[in-house]
């Protein structure tokens, strides 16, 4: 009998869902966890849209794009949320996206004019360490000193790729030399952010590649002020996380409504303490308290999407050769 009751309940549930339109959003894993922005965003948008918002978590940003390309026009996704700047050129080239049509003033350190992809948050890459630990002021000091560091692999993780572009944007042709100097500081290269950050917290390295806002997590969520991000005087590379509307969407109005909603306070106010990044549009209440203590780099580096895409292959070869010695 219990099975019967369960089955009936299930049928009613699916029928109820079938009557309301469904907006399907592909996003990366950590966006839609209990601590991520997902639940807040879903609740807030469903209050106004008369729809059912479904997040589908599909690995990290790079895996999202691969999945979309595998699915092609058959994709169920109406919106993809969580591609980063290093993937935009490839995403645009796939021809799967439609213009977002949203124009709002954004609080980004750089001008943003991409017609296909709309930023929802951003951050600066930075090396994060302990307050009493070593504090090199740039890549050259880091390479010359003996601070140990864990980084991510640019072939399997977006922060790793961000670091590759950071060195390239700051040093251009001198990048191989910088990497060679860093080689003896690098404890190891991990497949993704989680392993690297976990190893840093275990005390395996003095520094880890993360974001300027990582210490905000420890400060706000854990009341722990022992972590700091290092300000580098050559500037910090930006990661801008974007959303895009699929050309093949069967809910174009809902998708447009979501992109509009994404730039409002209901979405943006959740970002600093759930995704631990800067909101694309600063909400009316400003940033949470802990963010005052974060470093704010004076120079922001960001290669144009097509230039970054063209540079990736050669930069990877340089990186591999410098670190394989």
């Amino acid at each position: 009998m219990r099975h019967l009751a369960l089955a009936t309940g299930f049928m009613f549930a699916t029928q109820a869902v079938a009557q309301t339109p469904v907006l399907t959003i592909y996003t990366y894993d950590s966006f839609n966890t209990e601590w991520g922005p997902g639940p807040v965003v879903e609740k807030a948008f469903e209050e106004t849209c008369g729809c059912d918002l479904q997040f589908v978590a599909a690995g990290d940003g790079a895996a999202l794009l691969s999945r979309l390309r595998l699915e092609g026009a058959r994709s169920e996704a109406d919106i993809v949320l969580g591609l980063d700047t290093s993937l935009i050129a490839k995403a645009a080239e796939s021809g799967l996206f439609a213009p977002h049509g949203v124009s709002v003033d954004m609080d980004l350190p750089v001008a943003w004019e991409d017609p296909l992809f709309l930023p929802f948050d951003w951050g600066w890459f930075a090396f994060v360490g302990n307050v009493d630990g070593p504090m090199p002021a740039n890549f050259e000091e880091l390479g010359a000193g003996n601070a140990s560091v864990v980084i991510q692999d640019p072939r399997s993780s977006t922060p790793g790729l961000g670091l590759l572009m950071w060195v390239k944007a700051a040093y251009g042709d001198r990048a191989p030399e910088i990497w060679q100097a860093l080689a003896d500081n690098i404890v190891t290269v991990t497949p993704g952010w989680s392993e690297a950050y976990g190893m840093f917290l275990e005390g395996e390295a003095d520094l880890v590649l993360s974001y300027t806002t990582s210490p905000a997590y420890h400060l706000i969520a854990e009341g722990d002020s022992s972590k700091q991000a290092l300000a580098f005087d050559e500037g910090h590379y930006l990661q801008v996380e974007v959303a895009g509307k699929l050309a093949s969407t069967d809910q174009p109005e809902l998708a447009d409504a979501f992109l509009q909603f994404m730039m409002t306070d209901a979405f943006q106010a959740a970002i600093p303490t759930t995704n631990w990044m800067y909101p694309a549009v600063t909400p009316a209440g400003g940033l949470p308290d802990g963010y005052d203590y974060m470093i704010r780099p004076k120079t922001s580096l960001l290669l144009p999407a097509d230039e970054a895409e063209a540079m990736r292959g050669p930069a990877l070869d340089e990186w591999r050769q410098a670190l394989s010695r």
């Binding site: 209990e34 601590w35 399997s156 190891t188 005390g203």
Partner: protein, 515 residues
């Protein structure tokens, strides 16, 4: 070996199962190749990755097996209280999700780990775990338990009567080794080497994290890269084929090196050993067992001590994920055991190589291929449960087959003719010959399959089900959201559940059984 209709009917389910496994591995690969519109080019850097992969896998297989032989020998000739628990606990690292195991290893052997802490107190400079030696160490940590258990089973299959006879002939331990143990090792070791080589071939997180840099790039990482960042499906498929060929070569070499079974039957009396030597040998055996225990249990202790604090911080969703994982693991185990018994009773060489093939399959290519196959017909997300289940079952098959296969061969070699003369075929043969003779090994194989299915994360990312996550995916998501403590708690839960399932099957198989 019997000829004619008996042999034919005996081999049929096995061959059918072998073809099913091959189709399950090859069709997705073909689908990826089709989606790519042809094969891709293997880049120059990929050859370096292939070289490194082969080197680390060979070294890991050699060291795991070399260390496993004295440990298994010690275990085989010593009886002490807690021996059963020792053997069971030894199996635990093997069933850990890679990322959890790596963090556990680092807690012990890393820069800030316990070992370096101890060395520091003695004024010795810290030892780095990162590099080729670290990769090999990580792989030995994972595979020593499996190697030990497989070799220990070889010892278990030497009939007690042989040892009794040896004792009557006043054979010294050295003679026992030469006459009984060495021929058994010659039969068991090539297969163990091949299986561990194959396992290490497809490891990617261990190679990269402990390898210390891009020198330690494995083929699987190159596949991952071509998928996600390059979206070069052709190159990914080519690399997957290279990986396949390497494992096939290892499997064939092992078959060629393995002498035919020569042991013969006994009366299944409890094994008593007279060749246990004096205090020196006793000390040496204890030493080997202690080294293995410290090496394997240290990182486990680190995982437990870190996880206990996080248990209270785990969200409810972790428990749901745990339930999903347990259901998947149990169903997958059933499927694995069915396939294993079918393959093992076919007793043909190519069938055995087919059973080893899933080890060589790139989980990423397999997952993508299945995705490409399902996508035109249905929502892949709806298939998450089934795909995870079947993939886990097939991925666990090589381990189960390596455990059960030799036992079935042994039973057939010793009692096959008797069974033939009694006209035992099909299910009756299974019921009266195979199951009673191989209970212990089937239980162990089931334990491995269940634990692996709990831990495997391989293909699930593409098939992520919005409603139901598995426990390993949950650990991963928690870590990605800065929730390192909750993740450590969930990892401890995963470890405990995997181990409980493993022990349930393993003890179940050995319950009231001496063989």
């Amino acid at each position: 070996m019997a000829a004619g209709p008996v042999a034919l009917s005996r081999g049929l389910p096995g061959r059918a199962a072998a073809w099913a496994v091959i189709a399950f591995l090859v069709l997705p690969l073909a689908a990826v190749l089709t989606a790519a519109g042809g094969s891709g080019r293997i880049a120059a850097a990929d050859w370096a990755a292939i070289r490194f992969t082969v080197v680390q896998a060979s070294l890991s297989a050699l060291f795991s097996t070399a260390l496993a032989i004295p440990v298994a020998r010690a275990l085989s000739r010593r009886r002490f209280p807690g021996r059963g628990i020792y053997i069971a606990l030894m199996g635990a690292p093997f069933i850990l999700p890679v990322i959890v195991a790596v963090l556990g290893l680092i807690a012990v052997l890393g820069r800030g780990g316990w070992v370096n802490g101890l060395l520091g107190q003695m004024g010795i400079p810290p030892v780095s775990v990162y590099g080729l030696h670290g990769v090999v160490l990580g792989n030995v940590f994972f595979n020593l338990p499996l190697a030990t258990r497989l070799i220990l089973q070889g010892w278990g299959r030497i009939p007690a009567e042989r040892f009794r006879l040896a004792a009557q002939l006043d054979a010294r331990p050295r003679d026992v080794f030469r006459l009984l143990e060495a021929p058994m090792l010659a039969r068991v070791v090539p297969g163990v080497l091949a299986v561990i080589f194959a396992i290490c071939l497809s490891s990617f997180a261990i190679a990269l994290t402990l390898g210390g840099g891009p020198k330690a790039t494995s083929v699987e990482l190159a596949i991952f890269q071509s998928f996600t960042f390059e979206f070069d499906l052709g190159r990914a498929a080519m690399l997957a084929i290279v990986q396949f060929l390497l494992v096939a070569a290892a499997g064939l070499a092992a078959l060629r090196l393995t002498p035919r079974a020569i042991s013969g039957a006994g009366f299944d009396r409890p094994v008593a050993r007279w060749d246990t030597g004096g205090a020196g040998m006793r000390l040496a055996d204890a030493g080997w067992m202690l080294v293995a225990a410290l090496f394997l249990l240290g990182p486990m202790a680190a995982i437990v001590s870190r996880g206990i604090g996080g248990l209270a911080r785990m969200p409810v969703a972790v428990w749901q994920a745990a339930a999903t994982s347990v259901v998947i693991a149990l169903l997958a185990t059933g499927l694995t055991l069915l396939l294993t018994l079918a393959l093992a009773s076919a007793r043909r060489n190519w069938v055995e190589v087919a059973g080893l093939a899933p080890l060589a399959a790139s989980p990423l290519v397999l997952g993508t291929g299945l995705f490409v196959l399902i996508n035109p017909w249905d929502r892949p997300g709806d298939w998450a449960f089934v795909v995870t289940l079947v993939v886990n079952a097939v991925m666990a098959l090589p381990y189960a087959l390596r455990v059960v296969g030799p036992a079935v061969s042994e039973a057939e070699a010793s009692y096959g003719r008797l069974a033939d003369s009694l006209g035992l075929t099909g299910l009756a043969r299974l019921r009266w010959l195979i199951l009673p003779r191989c209970r212990g090994t089937i239980g162990f194989a089931g334990g491995i399959a269940a634990a692996l299915s709990m831990g495997d994360l391989g293909v699930i990312a593409l098939f992520a089900d919005p409603e139901r996550a598995t426990l390993p995916l949950m650990v991963w998501r928690l870590m990605g959201a800065y929730q390192m403590e909750a993740a450590a708690g969930a990892a401890l839960l995963l470890l405990s559940l995997s181990f409980a399932l493993f022990a349930l099957f393993d003890f179940g198989g050995r319950w009231r059984a001496e063989t």
